[in-house]
Amino acid sequence: MSPDIYLDNNATTPLHEDVYRKMRYSLKYQYGNPSSNYEIGINAKKSIQYARNNLAEFLNAEPEQITFTSGATESNSTAIIGYCLKNKSKNHIITSSIEHPAIMEACKYLQVSHGFDVSYLPVNKDGIVQINHLASLITPKTSLVTVMMVNNEIGSIQPIKKIGALCKALDIYFHCDAVQGAGKLPIDVKELNVNSLSLSAHKIYGPKGVGCLYIEDKNQLYPLLHGGAQEMGFRSGTENVTGIIGFGQAVECLMDHWINDIQHITFLRNKFIGQLNQHLTDWSINGGNTVPSTLSLCIHGIRGEALAYALSQMGVFVSIASACSSSSSKLSHVLKALGKSQEEIRSTIRVSFGRQNTIQEIEKAINILVTTTSKLRSFSPMMVN
């Protein structure tokens, strides 16, 4: 059941052992409704407050500025749709061309269903937006700017602080999807000058189905979920108590050892690239200025889909930038934005490292990758002829 070598930590992560233990306990014993006024209800409420304090500390925010959600997708939809529909006098949104669908699709909803204009910031060949480009796209109608902190496919780091400063100067709302930044970069919402920022627990060794939205000032937004006024009135619905407890614990663990994790992961990455250099030709890395945990590899002459499937059959789990599909619309919009050719995109796999990966796993994975690549190339018309 448990995979041999899991190298898809950008897709999701296994639970941290401490998170698992807390959640298991909570599932069984902390079943009270946080809105109830007796012991197990109050206990649940306190647990949520504890988690909220952890998140606030993690982001350098106030606890009241943290809203728990069902994940970053909900957080992003809440911020983007909630702000834009409440501030309809301006109807222009700027985002980047390499955002996650959780941003892209919320913008598209506003465009198609509510008449907003959406501009897409291009990126350079490293996959990074340029602040001057952003400035040139801003108009008096610009309501909101949303740019991710770290790209999920290639790991490129975006100039969030600069964007925050520009938006603040021009009094434009700035939302940041920081899902892939958490645990990889320090995040200080005050220093970054973001108006709102999203996280998802399952990307940082927490549970799936929980996230949070930092919001500087909730009065600027409509809520997305309406009802019993949980989460200080801004996000209704009985709280996912166990999930929130797990999220809080995941963040507590992160604050303890993310620096160590990054050193470990950097070591793994360097090992991985060093071995690739020694044993494989005709490959390259997509993007630049990336976090160490993400490695987008273009392996010439074979399909990423075929390589990833062969690797998975050998117990090495990675992901790809393009599904097996004859439709070019399924090709990664991120790699397209970097100017990659269809062939390069189809030859790309994404390797993403996690804190639980070991050097032994990396050595084994490299062996398997080299062998599998060689085998597939041995009958590829692009390599043989």
């Binding site: 599904a323 070019s328 018309p381 002829n385």
Partner: protein, 135 residues
């Protein structure tokens, strides 16, 4: 996601490789997704004696080439010509929608093998670059 047949052929493709002096070559390409199969045939007057191929594509298309290579090897041209698309569907097993165009790749291999004509590979022999057209 892949059925057993596809998975097994993909992991252990039969008859792979280039052939030094093929009697015929077959070039199959999907202009949209860029999958490419180069098949090499040794024939006698009415049948295929030996077959090998090179394949660039996704798992299913590689498996398809392998499956088809086993089908045609040792068969007469008449036998090969008698197969229908429905036979290809049967050989490949159940596919997900995104993999369905491999049926066409398989059927194209079959049709070409029934009446091989081409003696040599064309100069630029695989699909590359944007637009996905054969170059």
């Amino acid at each position: 996601m892949f059925n057993e047949i596809i998975s097994e052929h993909f992991m252990n493709p039969r008859n792979v490789g280039k052939m030094s002096n093929p009697d015929f070559v077959i070039e199959i390409g999907n202009p949209i997704c860029g999958d490419t199969v180069h098949m090499f045939l040794q024939v006698d007057s009415n049948s295929i004696k030996d077959v090998s191929y090179l394949s660039y594509g996704c798992s299913t298309s590689i498996a398809t080439a392998s499956i088809l290579s086993e089908v045609v090897k040792g068969k007469t041209f008449n036998e090969i010509a008698s197969y229908q698309k429905s036979d290809v569907i049967k050989w490949l097993g159940e596919l997900e929608p995104a993999q369905n165009h491999c049926v066409d790749i398989g059927y194209n291999i079959l049709s070409e093998c029934a009446k091989p004509k081409q003696r040599k590979l064309t100069e630029n022999n695989f699909l590359v670059e944007d637009g996905g057209a054969l170059t």
